[in-house]
C-alpha cells in the first residue's frame, strides 16, 4: 500500500468501470463466502477427527454413557443433519454447549470476554503511546545512532517470543524485585506484566511501520512544497507527514484488534489471566470440540468483519485502491 496517497479523499468515483456500491456488495458476498468456507472446514475437520464422546468420557466409557453423550450433543444424527442443524443454530446465535462444562459456549465466551478486552486495551495503549512516537522519532532522525538503536530494539521486540518476554518479566519483577504479582486478575497491578507482554510485538511493529511510512511520505513532492513555502518544520511534520503516514498504522491497529481475541492465548495462559485465549487453550487441552469450534468461528468472523470494514473504508478513502482483482496487476 502506498501511504502517501491513502488519505486523499475523493468524491464518489468509479474505478475499472465498477461503482463503489457494486464493489461493496461483491466484497460483502465474498466475506460471507469466506466465513462459510471456514465454518465448513472447521465442522468437517472436527467430525473427521474421531468421536468426541471417547475424547471427553475416556476410552473406558461404557456403552450407555457414550450413547447418552451422543444424544445430548446431537452426535447420533447423520452428518448432514448435524451440519444443517449446526449452521441453523449458529445463525440464530446459539453456539451450542461445552462438552466438558455442560454450559452454553456463548455464556463461557461472554464471561471471559471482558478480561481479554481489558488486557487488550492496556496493551494497545502501551504499544501506541510508545511505538508510534518511537517510529516518528526514528524517521525524523533518519540514519543516526538514535534511529539505528530504536530499530534494533524494535527488531528484537518483533522476534521476541511472547512467552519468553513473559518469563523474563516474571523473573525480574515478581521473583527478583517482588514488585508485581505473577498471575491472576483483579488487582490493578496484575494487568501490568500481561499487558506489556502482549504489547511488545505490536509496539515493535508499529514503530517500524510508522518509521517506514514517514520516510516514504518525506520524499513526496507536497512535503518539499510545504517546506519550500516556508512552513515551520513542526507544522510540516504534524499536519503533512503524520497525517499522510497514518493510514497503514491505523490499518495495522485494526488488524491487531481483530486478531487480539485469539492472539492472547499464550499471554493469558502464562499469567493465568481468565480471558478468551486461556479458554481456547483449555478447550484444546481438554478436547472440548464444541468450544474450540465455536471460538474459532467467533474469532474468524471478527477478523473477516474487520477486514471487510477496512477494505470498504479504503475504497472510500482512496480512489486509487481498486475495487476488483484487476487493479492488483
Amino acid at each position: 500500500m502506498s501511504p502517501g496517497s491513502a488519505f486523499r479523499v475523493s468524491s464518489l468515483h468509479q474505478r475499472a468501470g465498477i461503482p463503489v456500491i457494486q464493489f461493496a456488495i461483491q466484497r460483502i458476498l465474498r466475506s460471507l463466502l469466506t466465513l462459510w468456507i471456514v465454518f465448513t472446514t472447521v465442522f468437517a475437520a472436527l467430525r473427521l477427527s474421531g468421536d468426541p464422546a471417547f475424547a471427553i468420557l475416556g476410552p473406558e466409557a461404557g456403552q450407555d454413557a457414550v450413547a447418552s453423550f451422543r444424544e445430548r450433543f446431537g452426535l447420533d444424527e447423520s452428518i448432514l443433519t448435524q451440519y444443517v442443524l449446526y449452521m441453523k443454530n449458529m445463525l440464530t446465535g446459539d453456539m451450542g454447549d461445552s462438552m466438558r462444562y455442560e454450559r452454553p459456549v456463548t455464556e463461557l465466551f461472554l464471561a471471559r470476554l471482558p478480561a481479554t478486552l481489558e488486557l487488550g486495551a492496556w496493551a494497545l495503549l502501551i504499544a501506541t503511546i510508545i511505538g508510534i512516537p518511537l517510529g516518528i522519532m526514528a524517521a525524523l532522525r533518519h540514519d543516526t545512532i538514535l534511529d539505528r538503536g530504536a530499530m534494533l530494539v524494535a527488531f528484537i521486540g518483533q522476534s521476541a517470543p511472547g512467552f519468553f518476554v513473559a518469563i523474563m518479566l516474571i523473573l525480574t519483577f515478581s521473583l527478583r524485585l517482588n514488585w508485581l504479582p505473577s498471575s491472576g486478575r483483579g488487582e490493578p497491578n496484575q494487568v501490568v506484566m500481561p499487558a506489556i507482554t502482549l504489547a511488545i510485538g505490536l509496539l515493535a511493529a508499529l514503530a517500524r511501520m510508522t518509521r517506514s511510512s514517514m520516510l516514504e511520505v518525506a520524499r513526496a513532492d507536497y512535503i518539499r512544497t510545504a517546506t519550500a513555502k516556508g512552513l515551520p518544520r513542526r507544522q510540516v511534520v504534524v499536519s503533512h507527514m503524520l497525517r499522510n503516514a497514518s493510514l497503514p498504522t491505523v490499518t495495522m491497529l485494526g488488524m491487531w484488534i481483530s486478531g487480539m481475541i485469539g492472539g492472547t492465548a499464550i499471554t493469558e495462559t502464562i499469567f493465568a489471566w481468565p480471558g478468551v485465549g486461556n479458554l481456547i487453550v483449555q478447550a484444546v487441552s481438554g478436547r472440548d470440540y464444541a468450544v474450540v469450534q465455536s471460538l474459532v468461528l467467533i474469532i474468524s468472523a471478527t477478523v473477516i468483519l474487520t477486514n471487510l470494514i477496512v477494505d470498504l473504508a479504503y475504497s472510500w478513502l482512496d480512489p486509487r485502491i481498486s475495487m476488483t482483482g484487476k487493479a492488483s496487476e
Binding site: 465474498r30 475437520a45 512467552f163 485502491i321 482483482g325
Partner: protein, 312 residues
Amino acid sequence: MSTTPVPTAAAAPTSLATAGATTGELPHAPRRSLRKLFRRMKPLHMVAVGILLLIVLSAILAPLIAPHNPTKSDLLARLTPPAWISGGDTGHLLGTDQLGRDILSRLMYGSRYSLTIAIIGTVCGVVIGAAFGMVAGFARGIIDQIVMLIVDAFISLPFIIVALAMVAVLGSSFPVLILLAVLSGFAAYTRVTRGLTLQIARQQYVLAAQSIGASRGRLLIRHILPNVTAPLIVLTTMEMGSIILMEAALSFLGFGIQPPTPAWGLMVNEGREYLHNAWWVGVFPGVAIMLLATCISLLGDLLRDILDPGTR
C-alpha cells in the same frame, strides 16, 4: 511470532489491490546479488550470519560436540548453575535442569528440531504456495477466484488459532508440526506470487514469447518463475523466523514436541517452575529461540534491501 499476530506487509491486506501494491515494482534480477550481499553487510548482519552459522553447525554436529547425552538425567547434579556462577561446574557450561540434564547439550540437540521444522516447512510452503500463486495469476478467471478465496479464508484467521484447532483435531506430533509449518506461510506465498505473476504476465517479453508459440509450462517456468524468486526469497526468510516462533510457542504450551525431546519451547516451559531458584533452566533456551528468530529476520532484512529495494 509474538503472542499476538501482528500483520505483516505480505499477509495483512485483504483487498486484492493492496496485496499487489506491496510488491509494486517488478523484481530486480537476482544476478550480482551475492557480491552485493557482502558489500551491503553491516557489522550487525555479520554478527547475525555468524550466530546462524554457529547454530546450524551445532545442530549438524550435535552428536560429535555435545558434551553430554541430552536426555540422560543425573539427579545428583540437578539444577547445577552455569559454570561462571558459584556452585557451577565446568562440566556443565550452562548448568543443568531439574533432572540434571546438561542444558548446553539439550540446546544443541534442540536446535535440530527447530531448524528441521523451519526448513521443511518453509521449502514445502514456498513450493506449494508459489505453484498455486503462479497458476492462479496466470490462468485468472475461476481458478484464480477459487485459489484466492481459500487464501483469503486462511489469512483471515490468526494462525495460532488455526494451529490450536489443528492440534485439537490431529493431536500433537512432529508431522503435525511440519504440516502447520507448511500451512503457516502457504497463503502469503500464494498471494505474493499471484500478484507478481499478474504483473509479469503482461510484460512485453512474456507476450512476445507467447506470440511465438511458447507453451504455458514454458512461459511459467522460463519467464515467470525467475522473476518471482527474489521477492519470494525475502518473504521466505521472514516466514522462517515466524515458523520457529510458532513451533516454540506450541511446544511451550505443551501442544508441540513432547518430552523428553529437548525442544527449545518445551525447555522454556519446563524452566518456568524453577525460575525462583534456577533461572538458567528456562532462560537459556528462551535466549536461543530469540537469537535464532532475530538473526533470521536480520538476514531477511538484508536480503530485502538487496533484492527488493522497492519495499525497503
